[in-house]
């Protein structure tokens, strides 16, 4: 409380004024841009707040929340979001692990450096551009994907016109963009295995699967957990790529949760309902963040 004792024997104890000087600006800024709008969203969510009839907005309590919780479209969008996560994340982890093991093998120095640099390209590509690229590459008539599949005697497929295929296309891009990230994270994990332990294990067995399970896996756990939680948060946020590629369509086939809220708020102009959806999404996010903290930042608490 009033710990203004400043002595070297008590490292880290500083006066309130000093503390405020360091933390104040960041905390106040983040409160103004992060918390005030959220409070406003909660206020909006309790109102009949439609942009087309602003004069008639009135307090309606939790009515919007009841509507959202009973709204099939909301839960469908949630279901789609977690379906995407459940399909894409295992693929990203398996392919990512494969690439990491491939690049972890000794030898081929320069070639592997090129590979590692090319892994950066998908992650760095602007999400909106990935969606635009999707329109170009997966086009029914002019798309290169159908051309390449044609060489194998397949297709042509209406990737963006068919509801199921549109979902597959979103999965494809998600896997394309984030498999390299998984590969790099897992590769970083593999390099933390002490070389002498790995060498000893290689003298014992030639099976890479055994080495992976018993020697390398423990060192991959922090990376795997980080990936699990970051990918969950990012899938809940997913907007740019899908918006520029399918706008949530055809129908509602690729309308993930962020796209649904954006449509209700900015294309149907029902800000009250959209705010209630946003608040519910926020609550889900906070629960997931709590998970994140308890996994990774234990050392901060001590």
């Amino acid at each position: 409380m009033s710990q203004s004792v400043k002595s070297p024997s008590m490292p880290g104890r500083v006066s309130r004024a000093t503390l405020f000087g360091f933390l104040g600006p960041a905390v106040i800024t983040l409160a103004l841009i992060g918390i005030v709008p959220l409070a406003f969203a909660v206020w909006t969510s309790m109102r009949d707040y439609n942009l087309t009839k602003l004069a008639r907005q009135k307090f309606i309590g939790f009515e919007n929340y009841v509507t959202v919780l009973n709204d099939g479209a909301f839960w469908d969008a949630m279901g789609r979001t977690f379906t995407l996560l459940a399909i894409a994340l295992p693929m990203q982890l398996i392919f990512g692990l494969g690439i990491a093991l491939l690049l972890h093998k000794p030898g081929l120095g320069f070639f592997k450096t090129i590979a590692r640099l090319s892994l950066v390209v998908p992650m760095a590509t602007t999400y909106a551009v990935v969606g635009l690229l999707g329109q170009v590459m997966f086009n029914l008539k002019y798309g290169v994907v159908n051309q390449l599949l044609g060489f194998l005697g397949l297709g042509p497929f209406d990737w963006l016109g068919d509801p199921n295929l549109a979902f597959v296309t979103v999965i494809f891009w998600d896997v394309w963009q984030w498999t390299p990230f998984c590969a790099l994270v897992l590769l970083a994990g593999l390099t933390t295995v002490p070389p002498e332990i790995e060498e000893a294990a290689r003298l014992e067995t030639k099976s890479w699967l055994t080495i992976l399970r018993h020697v390398q896996l423990p060192f991959l756990v922090p990376g795997l957990t980080a990936l699990l939680i970051l990918r969950t948060a990012d899938t809940l946020k997913l907007f740019d790529m899908v918006f520029t590629m399918t706008r949530g369509g055809p129908g509602a086939a690729t309308e993930f949760i962020a796209l649904l809220i954006q449509r209700v708020g900015f294309r149907a102009f029902d800000q009250g309902l959209a705010s209630a959806q946003a608040v519910i999404l926020l609550i889900i996010t906070i629960v997931l963040s709590r998970l994140y903290i308890s996994f990774f930042y234990r050392e901060v608490h001590s």
């Binding site: 409380m1 070297p8 490292p11 880290g12 500083v14 000093t18 503390l19 000087g21 360091f22 933390l23 960041a26 983040l30 992060g34 406003f40 491939l102 690049l103 030898g107 081929l108 070639f111 090319s118 950066v120 390209v121 998908p122 760095a124 602007t126 909106a128 551009v129 690229l133 170009v136 002019y142 798309g143 290169v144 159908n146 051309q147 044609g150 990230f181 790099l184 994270v185 970083a188 030639k206 099976s207 922090p222 990376g223 980080a226 907007f239 740019d240 918006f243 520029t244 962020a258 809220i261 708020g265 800000q271 946003a278 926020l282 996010t285 906070i286 963040s289 994140y292 903290i293 930042y297």
Partner: protein, 293 residues
């Protein structure tokens, strides 16, 4: 699987050695082939984007798509000078640079405090910072739009600069807290004994040593702001429109101007890829917020 382990110590006859060399060579080729596939998979969409940007509309609408064609830079001159993409790129640059400077200026002292000082509520503060990274932008986009509209600030740079701080400030704080922690405390304690104030220790002792973290977090902050679409779409119209929002506005009508869209996309993506390659060594650590070193 491990039959040949035993033969390793046995007398190595010439045929066996030849057999093993051949096997090793074959494995090496498999590895090379697989790595080449990975590179191809990662690079191909980028290659397709760049080549499409060099096609005229007629070539771009060929079916099946053309792989060999006469390249033209007409799309670039057209989008940059006739369609005003140059102007929106400038807007993106202004917004990304300003928000990065603000994020670093506000975030570094806060990161130092989190790394060095003990105080009540530190845990909650930390949690709050992290939550901001997780929150979906759409949650903030709605109320921000209404507030900004009431204040008459729609379509201004300052609004984007401020709202981008909601994800940039946490990133700077995490990466820099990590960095400040790695600086030995002996240095500040020595300076403290000599009577230096905390602020002076921060500025003259720790901040110079934390520069790698500051640089990396600046690059991340720049990339995230440059890439952002949703807030730009909702909060800008013409005056402060950013390049990604501009690229989207080409997507109207039936016959999309593929060449122009891809030219704009290339202009957006190239700087990001350059920055990301520069920071590629710290990419993993930065994106997992220090969970993986």
């Amino acid at each position: 699987m491990s039959v040949e382990t035993a033969t390793g110590t046995a007398a190595t006859s010439a045929p066996a050695t030849a057999h093993r060399t051949a096997q090793r060579e074959r494995r090496l080729w498999v590895q090379i082939l697989l790595i080449a596939l990975v590179i191809l998979f990662c690079i191909f969409p980028f290659y397709w984007m760049v080549t499409t940007s060099l096609k005229t509309q007629i070539v771009a609408l060929q079916s099946p798509p053309a792989w060999i064609f006469d390249a033209t830079t007409a799309n670039y001159t057209e989008v940059l000078f006739a369609d005003g993409v140059g102007y929106t790129l400038m807007n993106s640059l202004i917004v990304a640079v300003c928000t990065t400077i603000l994020a670093v200026g506000l975030g570094c002292p806060a990161a130092y405090a989190l790394a060095r000082f003990e105080f009540r509520g530190k845990k909650d503060l930390w949690f709050w910072f992290i939550t901001n990274r997780m929150v979906s932008p759409v949650v903030l986009a709605l109320p921000f739009f209404l507030i900004v509209r009431m204040l008459g600030l729609l379509d201004t740079h300052i609004v984007l600069i401020l709202i981008y701080l909601t994800f940039n400030l946490p990133i700077v704080i995490w990466i820099c807290t990590d960095q400040f922690r790695s600086i030995p405390r002996d240095l500040d304690e020595a300076a403290l004994l000599e009577g230096a104030s905390q602020w002076r220790i921060f500025r003259s002792v720790c901040l110079p040593l934390a520069m790698p973290g500051v640089a990396v977090s600046s690059i991340f902050s720049f990339i995230f702001s440059w890439n952002e679409l949703m807030f730009a779409l909702v909060l800008t119209r013409t005056y402060a429109k950013t390049a990604p929002a501009m690229a989207v506005s080409f997507m109207e009508g039936y016959n999309l101007p593929y060449g122009k869209i891809m030219a704009t996309s290339t202009l957006i993506v190239i700087p990001v890829i350059i920055f990301a390659l520069i920071a590629s060594k710290q990419l993993v650590r930065g994106l997992t917020m220090g969970a993986v070193k």
